[in-house]
């Protein structure tokens, strides 16, 4: 029986969740502390899932091999069921309805720790090692050995190094910042007026517009990228057809590294257009919801005082949207820092292969980690990306802060 690692994960994760979700309810019914139930259920679930998952696999593999893996999933019940059935009531059976809290929180905390916190800690650790999964590392998690400790070397190289990796890193930071600097304001400039316009029309029409504008958000990014790739195709694309009507000579939007507008590569603009097209529906819907929350009497009072619609929008609506603008700008900034799929499909970081004109940080991290096996260097870049997002978010929180409610 080979390749048990995925099953070991399934056994553990499945029964950790079931155990920690159900056992608090059982404990609560028997008058016991449900938080202890969550903890005990978690431990018993994992142990039972692993030990009896493996046991059932061995048993059924010899008699019913086609279903052995599926049946092994029930291993967790071997100890959990007796625990639930045989647990003695402490102070008489009565439902206190407190078990639901640990029954939902303990599994979530478990998932958060195992699938988010631990990988994050692992990424932080990797940033200090020359880690390549193909190399033979030391006995503890593969760290050490050929995956040697390099301390803060990567971070020093990022600042001072002039070899290829640091140069690519600095180039990807510059590209990411350019991308974000264009995307965030453009997104807000499009979505706020658009949401106001949609909000101002009749409710039935509003639903139609809202659906239409939200459609690209739920469309596959790869599909969007392929479609825009065709539009920007240098030889047969729609973009060149349209600009050709205005007498502009066709350009290689996604391929020519020499073309720039205001210092920004034209390929980056092309990618930004595709990204905005897919993304702006999300903020539009958020702003529509926010606009619906602004009390009408505030606008009415302004109109009574003789304010024009533009003045109402500028002096009443926009200031009251400030918390929503903060929310939208923070999330747009974070998602634009994380842009990957559209660029990977449309340009693969090019044009310009040495200093890719659209090679953003996540693409650089991906290539280093999964194409060239430089996990340590990629992890160090990830930490810098997180730090940048944190700094920019803190700045936005400060810039758009408000101390009032309506």
């Amino acid at each position: 029986m080979d390749n048990l690692q995925p099953l070991i994960l399934y056994w553990g994760l499945t029964w950790a969740v079931v155990g920690s979700a159900v056992t608090p309810l059982v404990f609560d019914r028997r008058g016991r502390n449900p938080w202890w139930g969550g903890l005990i259920g978690l431990i018993v679930g994992i142990c039972s899932g692993e030990v009896f998952g493996w046991t059932l696999l061995q048993i059924f593999d010899s008699v019913w091999p086609a279903y052995a893996r599926w049946l092994s999933i029930f291993g967790g019940l071997v100890l959990l069921l007796p625990l639930w059935i045989l647990l003695k009531p402490q102070r008489g059976e009565h439902l206190r309805a407190h078990g639901i809290v640990p029954g939902t929180i303990v599994p979530l905390i478990f998932y958060l720790i195992s699938l988010s916190a631990l990988p994050m800690i692992w990424a932080i650790a990797l940033a200090f090692f020359e880690y390549d999964p193909a190399q033979k590392g030391g006995p503890i998690l593969g760290l050490g050995g050929e995956n040697k400790y390099v301390g803060t070397q990567y971070f020093e190289e990022m600042v001072e190094g002039d070899s290829r990796n640091p140069r690519e890193f600095r180039n990807s930071i510059e590209t990411t910042l350019k991308f974000t600097a264009v995307v965030v304001p453009l997104n807000l400039l499009i979505t706020i007026p658009l949401a106001s316009m949609i909000e101002s029309v009749h409710q039935r029409v509003r639903v139609v517009f809202r659906s239409i504008y939200f459609l690209p958000v739920v469309t596959s990014s790869v599909g969007v990228a392929i479609m825009w790739g065709y539009i920007f195709n240098a030889q047969y694309g729609l973009a060149n057809e349209v600009t050709g009507m205005a007498g502009i000579k066709p350009v290689a939007w996604l391929q020519d590294p020499r073309l720039t507008i205001w210092g920004i590569p034209i390929a980056l603009f092309a990618v930004i257009i595709a990204y905005l097209w897919q993304d702006f529906g999300y903020n539009t819907v958020i702003f529509i919801a926010a606009l619906q929350g602004i009390p009408d009497h505030l606008k009415e009072a302004a109109r009574v005082d003789g304010a024009t619609p533009l003045q109402v929008f500028w002096h009443i609506t926009l200031p009251l949207l400030r918390p929503t603008i903060l929310f939208a700008s923070v999330f747009t900034l974070i998602s634009s820092f994380q842009v990957f799929d559209i660029i990977q499909v449309m340009t693969q970081g090019g044009p310009g292969r040495v200093e890719g004109k659209t090679k953003v940080m996540v693409l650089n991290i991906y290539e280093n980690a999964f194409r060239f096996g430089r996990m340590g260097w990629a992890a160090a870049m990830s930490l810098v990306l997180v730090a940048m997002m944190l700094l920019f978010t803190l700045f936005q929180l400060w810039a758009f802060r408000s101390d009032w409610e309506y």
């Binding site: 100890l79 193909a134 190399q135 240098a234 999964f370």
Partner: protein
């Protein structure tokens, strides 16, 4: 209640213990092997045929194939080999093998005792030999340089002789210039000679160095030397091709109009690509017209070229059935009849010398893949590219980007070879 739980726990422990000690009698007889392979129609089909043939002879053996999309396969290998959950038999590209040799089983002694390395070409086998041990067997001789695909209809339409027999580069450039087509805006719609995808650029550059009498390895074979007279001349030759207008490297490269697609969609008349692309092309474009595969002119006396080993099979060090897995590999790669069928189905060049040098095998090979005639006699000039710390990094992240940027006019040839030299040699630093 404690008594009940204790009894249940004891019963559970007994159940586990009984399973641990119980081994089914027939488990020792039947062998199930897992085989990993990248996804590519003809390759998967050809390997399955080998498995069917092998299991027919060995009914106690079952081989389960799992295929992965190419990029995913790279990642899966990178993570699974150190984690230890890889398959028993791994299809690997020759130049990856030494990088993974810590996790691979060398050829067993009994097989090694009778193994004749000379039955394989040096270039493909070279990838599977690490520290005097053989870690797998090649199934193909991967050739990315030496011959080009040529489109008969386009040549005839341009009034050029077909198949072409270029005596020198000037003759090829002349033909390519006549084959170029542009639209009314002056954009190139059909390239004359498309050599600007990643593999073509890398192998053109390396072959250019070798044919001019140079070497990209230093004397001790522990570092690269691109910033040499031959390196510069090789790159300048490629720049000259672009300046002569045979291809627009902005519109034709690895991400835009890749040469495999460009050739079979009529966007290039001459494409520098390995013959493996023919199986792919005919699979995707079955109605494509007549074509041929003809030799490129040499820059020096001999058409020496660097060759990149090729696809083959290896055995995991952790496999419980290494002997059976190696037996299957030997059956697939070293048996001339089986290897021939695999090469015919995949449209690849054999790694076994007999299939090329023995008419008994060469004839059916050329009947199935007549375009190989142009390259089989060139195989003798193939030289293994060498054991590199990271072949993909050197090829796709160093040589290709610098050369393409030079061809696109973003940097000078002198700067490009100097930077290539510097970046490539960083791979050897601890």
């Amino acid at each position: 209640m404690m008594k009940k739980i204790t009894i249940l726990t004891i019963l559970a422990v007994l159940l586990v213990a009984s399973v641990v000690t119980h081994q089914p009698a027939d488990a020792r007889q039947s062998v199930t092997l897992r085989l990993w392979q990248h996804q590519e129609g003809p390759f998967n089909e050809a390997t399955q045929a080998l498995i069917d043939a092998y299991t027919a002879q060995h009914p106690e053996v079952t081989i389960e194939v799992e295929t992965f999309e190419y990029d995913l396969y790279l990642q899966t290998l990178q993570t699974s080999l150190p984690a230890g959950d890889e398959a028993d038999i791994l299809e690997l590209f020759g130049t990856w093998v030494c990088g993974y040799s810590d996790y691979l089983a060398p050829m067993p002694d009994d097989l090694a005792a009778s193994f004749d390395a000379s039955q394989f070409y040096d270039a493909p086998l070279g990838g599977y030999q690490c520290d005097d041990q053989v870690y797998g067997l090649p199934q193909e001789f991967n050739v990315e340089y030496g011959a080009v695909l040529v489109n008969q209809a386009m040549f005839e339409e341009a009034g050029l002789a077909f198949p072409p027999a270029w005596e020198n580069w000037d003759a090829l450039i002349s033909d390519a210039q006549q084959l170029v087509q542009e639209n009314s805006d002056g954009q190139m719609t059909v390239a004359g000679y498309h050599f600007t995808n990643a593999d073509a650029i890398v192998f053109s550059f390396l072959a250019g160095i070798l044919q001019r009498g140079g070497d990209y390895w230093n004397e001790d074979q522990d570092g690269f030397q691109f910033d040499t007279e031959e390196g510069l001349a090789s790159l300048e030759h490629l720049v000259n091709l672009v300046e002569q207008g045979v291809v627009d490297p902005v519109l034709f490269n690895d991400t835009s109009n890749w040469s495999g697609d460009a050739f079979f969609t009529g966007q290039t008349a001459i494409a520098l690509i390995g013959p493996w692309a023919v199986a792919y092309g005919l699979d995707s474009f079955p109605d494509f017209g007549a074509f041929d595969y003809v030799a490129l002119p040499a820059a020096g006396d001999e058409p020496i070229f660097a060759a990149d080993s090729g696809w083959g099979m290896t055995v995991s060090e952790r496999s419980d059935h290494q002997d059976v897995a190696w037996d299957f590999i030997n059956f697939a790669a070293a048996n001339a009849d089986n290897a021939l069928q695999w090469n015919i189905t995949t449209g690849t060049i054999p790694a076994l010398r007999a299939l090329v040098e023995d008419e008994m095998y060469r004839t059916p090979l050329l009947e199935a893949s007549p375009w190989l005639a142009g390259v089989l006699d060139e195989l003798q000039y193939g030289r293994y590219v060498g054991e590199m710390p990271d072949r993909d990094l050197l090829f796709y992240d160093i040589i290709y980007p610098y050369v393409l940027d030079t061809l696109q006019g973003l940097m000078s040839a002198e700067d490009a070879v100097a930077l290539m030299d510097e970046d490539a040699n960083l791979m050897f630093e601890d």
